[in-house]
């Protein structure tokens, strides 16, 4: 086959061709950063406001407060009755939502191109003039508790992930679920939410991202008009508890009603913010794609189809986080396979990466997938704006989204081997196993803790 030839043809011209539309940047006097990405493919826009606040800023006793505050942002301001915000957006044909992550809280409206001012007027109002009334808080807290039950307590894999995270990190706030521990939700008071709002919701702690069929000068003028009058706040950098070096492998079992077992393994890894070498996070991303980037990757080829030891297996790593995180593996055993054998198979895969350089052919295949994905993502305006907002809220430059593909394409087999040897070692490892309990036990399970993903959508 002409595989190598195909790959080169794909790679070389595309690096220039994928250069995304330009992003324009302005900072208002009150510190609000405004980023505009014009894209005139369709007569729509997305308007997103990102705050540098999330569950990793929280401390023990108030976990979940960022997410509860996100809910309260829809519950009335000085000028808007509870729910009024959403009704106005809906009447203007808008789609809206909000989400809380470890490192950010973000709000967005997707609208027809002539409706941008509605978004700015509403978001400027709730940035500094939230009402935070006792009645709405009491009700919304119950909604959040129901959300926790739906997402975590009644989902055995989410529950396993929650307890796994709490065990993997000794001190880092990444050990806490975004939605909060049940006990903290029980003791949360309106004053806690009010303090949190005053501390973090200010123009100098926010990034406004607009992408779509817009004129940047008009966007900047509208931003000045609506957000310009808002007062800045003194933002004191959070005192984040640093994760100490791990002193040996950790293991836990999570008992929950379930039918099938589930394995989670995580190795402490640096993120873009703290990597010793700037290429390391890119090498870790390429490593995760080699193992789990499609049906041709090693896990699908060797573990699902080859040895058939797993029903499914995954590898994931996030370069763009505020604090160091984990290189994660998860797997569901195939029928009759003990969980120990699955863990051994994953560790064999890691050992092979460490001992043998990956082939040029494998690496080229991953490069081509990454390059194609970068072209495909231009079909989603929302996703492009998300990338910009995400980078900026963790203190990185939005230009990283544009150089990302090039940096991935530069990764060599030697560097993949190097990060695997350095970081995928037992002393950095935590292993969690879901221990299935009978489902036909009709006693209700007590409320437990958890958050399956990285983000809570409202």
């Amino acid at each position: 086959m002409h595989r190598r030839f195909i790959a080169l043809l794909l790679l070389l011209p595309s690096l220039g061709a994928v250069a995304a539309p330009e992003v324009l940047e302005r900072r208002l006097d009150n510190g609000l950063k405004v980023l505009v990405k014009p894209d005139h493919r369709a007569p729509i826009l997305t308007s997103q406001i990102w705050y540098r606040i999330g569950s990793s800023y929280e401390y023990g006793g108030i976990t979940g407060v960022s997410h509860v505050l996100e809910h309260m942002m829809f519950q009335g301001t000085e000028r808007l009755a509870p729910g009024e915000f959403s009704r106005i957006v809906a009447e203007n044909g808008g789609e809206e939502n909000a989400f809380t992550g470890r490192d950010y809280t973000a709000y967005y409206q997707n609208l027809a191109k002539d409706r941008l001012e509605i978004s700015f007027e509403l978001e400027a109002e709730r940035m500094r003039h939230l009402k935070l009334a006792e009645k709405e808080f009491a009700k919304e807290l119950e909604v959040v508790k129901e959300e926790r039950r739906t997402r975590t307590d009644d989902d055995p894999q989410s529950l396993t992930y929650e307890r796994f995270s709490a065990a993997a990190y000794d001190a880092s706030p990444y050990r806490n679920p975004i939605i909060g521990w049940p006990g903290d939700l029980e003791q949360l008071r309106l004053e806690d939410v009010r303090d949190w709002y005053r501390l973090w919701y200010a123009p100098n702690n926010a990034i406004l991202v607009v992408a779509g069929d817009v004129n940047p000068d008009e966007v900047f003028a509208l931003a000045e008009k609506h957000f310009g009058p808002l007062a800045a706040e003194e933002i004191r950098p959070p005192k984040t508890r640093a994760e100490p070096d791990q002193l040996g492998e950790k293991r836990l079992r999570v008992k929950a009603p379930a039918k099938e077992s589930y394995l989670l393994m995580g190795y402490k890894t640096p993120s873009m913010a703290d990597a010793e070498e700037s290429w390391e996070p890119y090498a870790l991303e390429m490593l995760s794609s080699l193992l789990d980037g499609g049906d041709s990757a090693r896990f699908a080829r060797e573990l699902v189809r080859g040895s058939q030891i797993v029903a499914s297996a995954g590898a994931s790593y996030r370069a763009f986080e505020r604090l160091p995180g984990l290189f994660l593996f998860d797997a569901v055993p195939s029928k009759g396979q003990p969980i120990e054998a699955v863990e051994a198979a994953l560790r064999d895969q890691i050992a092979r990466i460490q001992s043998e350089p990956v082939s040029g052919e494998e690496l080229e295949r991953v490069r081509n997938q990454v390059i194609a994905a970068k072209v495909f993502e231009r079909d989603s305006l929302h996703y492009q704006a998300m990338q910009i907002g995400l980078l900026e809220t963790i203190g990185l430059d939005w230009r990283l989204a544009d150089t990302y593909v090039e940096r991935l394409a530069e990764v060599t087999p030697e560097r993949i081997q190097a990060v695997a040897r350095k970081y995928l070692v037992a002393d950095r490892l935590t292993v969690a196993v879901l221990d299935p309990q009978p489902l036909d036990d009709t006693e209700p399970t007590p409320t437990r803790g958890g958050m399956g993903g990285q983000t809570n959508v409202r």
């Binding site: 794909l10 044909g93 027809a112 509605i118 739906t150 099938e260 195939s334 209700p444 007590p446």
Partner: protein, 449 residues
């Protein structure tokens, strides 16, 4: 309330704008048939050097017959070996050029989709692979055994989710003996008993030109699209269209099934046969449901269940229009000890809506939301591809998108009230609850006031 000083002129203008009067830039749909009879719907999208193509066959789980899961397993095996390539070779060919192949099955259809760069030789490699997967899957015995074993595990994992357990039970209660009753993922017994010959026969019967719709959106011109559609479908025999599905009978009476489950919440689901695609009541029911429970945070159900009472994080209602009437469905999840209260609010809200219909204010707001948001629904290639598949599969008129906003605008409150009164029968709902006992949990005792 909303103070006047907050209403800026542009805002007022936007609210007053007769949105449906605006010229909507809807995509221009081109259509033709391939040599072997497959109908093609194509929209040229020159903005990004990529192509989306989706083949849709009337080969969903409603065609499973005595073998629940047959349609879904057939689709799942397509890329496990085709022509001279085994699963490894197929995966290499697609991943080498960054192409993405996917197959999914619902009750009506099997849909097989490809997303590729239009640059050569990526496109040729992807299309050659795609055409082979569609026409010449091998259903290799070892691949079948592996996919079967993993499907059985997936079915067991679905039993871990109270929402999935409830949804399957509700479809059984709504559809009884009709083929829509079964879940596309199948049953353990039937999956265990499937033979390779079953898959071969199913594929031979349904993956044919006369049963195929080709939806295409991408950076191609008409001539290029015609040539490509031909290459994709050339291996499919002309075949014959399948027979129509049987009619869906109305429920004779209401039912209640309570499934005990070790969960902290109870899932409450209610439903009955709803409407089909192209239904004469489609627009009144669609707009009415949008108001009742189809518009997220601002729907009546969300207001009653979540905003007023804090009973559930999520609550909704929807019509799922299929070739024959699909379900009308409502749902929520709430703490076990609140399940009876939440169910009562859910059903009372439906009854009140049927009795009263929407207010003029609710109807006006809903129309503004649907028509004003229409540009968002057709903004991406992925969105348009989905519309083409639905229009083609259900034989909707090609000006469906052009006329969509006008038809929304023309719906009246009385039409909605009338359509709901005729079509939705709260005294004959199938209701399913899945959850634990109503004993309040210790950690929740100091929760709600």
């Amino acid at each position: 309330m909303f103070a006047d000083r907050f209403l800026s002129p542009i805002w007022l203008a936007a609210l007053l704008l007769p949105v449906a009067g605006l010229v909507q830039a809807t995509p221009e749909i081109q259509t033709w048939r391939t040599t072997n009879g497959a109908r093609v719907l194509f929209v040229a999208a020159p903005g990004i050097p990529m192509l989306d193509v989706k083949l849709v066959f009337a080969a969903g789980s409603a065609r499973d017959g005595e073998r629940p899961g047959l349609a879904s397993m057939t689709a799942a095996l397509l890329d496990e070996g085709a022509g001279d390539w085994d699963a490894d070779a197929l995966a290499d060919r697609l991943d080498d050029v960054g192409a993405i192949l996917s197959a999914e099955v619902d009750r009506d259809m099997a849909a097989v989709a490809l997303r590729s760069l239009t640059r050569q030789p990526a496109l040729d490699t992807a299309v050659e692979t795609f055409a082979t997967v569609l026409a010449r899957p091998t259903f290799a015995p070892d691949a079948l055994e592996r996919v079967r074993r993993n499907r059985l595990i997936a079915l067991r994992q679905e039993e871990e989710s109270p929402r999935t357990v409830g949804q399957k039970a509700l479809y059984r209660a709504i559809f009884g003996d009709h083929p829509y009753a079964g879940d596309p993922s199948g049953t353990p017994e039937a999956i265990a008993a499937l033979a390779r010959e079953d898959l071969l026969a199913f594929h031979a019967r349904y993956f044919v030109g006369a049963n195929a719709v080709v939806a295409m959106v991408g950076d191609l011109d008409r001539a290029g699209a015609e040539a490509l559609a031909e290459r994709i479908t050339v291996g499919l025999p002309a075949g014959a269209p399948p027979s129509a599905l049987p009619a869906v009978p109305d429920l004779a009476s209401g039912t209640l099934e309570s499934i005990r489950f070790p969960s902290s919440q109870t899932t409450v689901l209610a439903g009955q046969p709803g409407m089909r695609r192209g239904d004469p009541d489609y627009f009144p029911l669609h707009v009415g449901n949008h108001i009742l429970g189809g518009s997220g945070l601002v729907s009546i159900l969300m207001d009653e269940i979540r905003e007023k009472r804090g009973l559930s994080y999520s609550t909704y209602s929807y019509f799922l229009p299929l070739a024959q009437p699909g379900p009308f469905l409502m749902g929520l999840q709430t703490r076990n000890d609140q399940a009876d209260q939440a169910r009562a609010v859910l059903l009372d809200t439906l009854k009140r809506f049927i009795a009263n219909g929407p207010t003029e204010q609710e109807l006006t707001s809903a129309k503004k939301n649907i028509t004003g948001g229409f540009p968002l629904k057709i903004a991406s290639n992925g969105n348009i591809l989905q519309y083409l598949a639905v229009i083609g599969f259900h034989g909707l008129p090609l000006d469906y998108l052009d006329r969509f906003n006008d038809r929304i605008e023309s719906v009246t409150a009385e039409e909605i009230r009338d359509a709901f009164a005729r079509r939705v029968h709260p005294e004959r709902l199938a209701i399913v609850t899945v959850g634990g006992t109503a004993e309040p949990l210790v950690s929740q005792a100091n929760g709600a006031p």
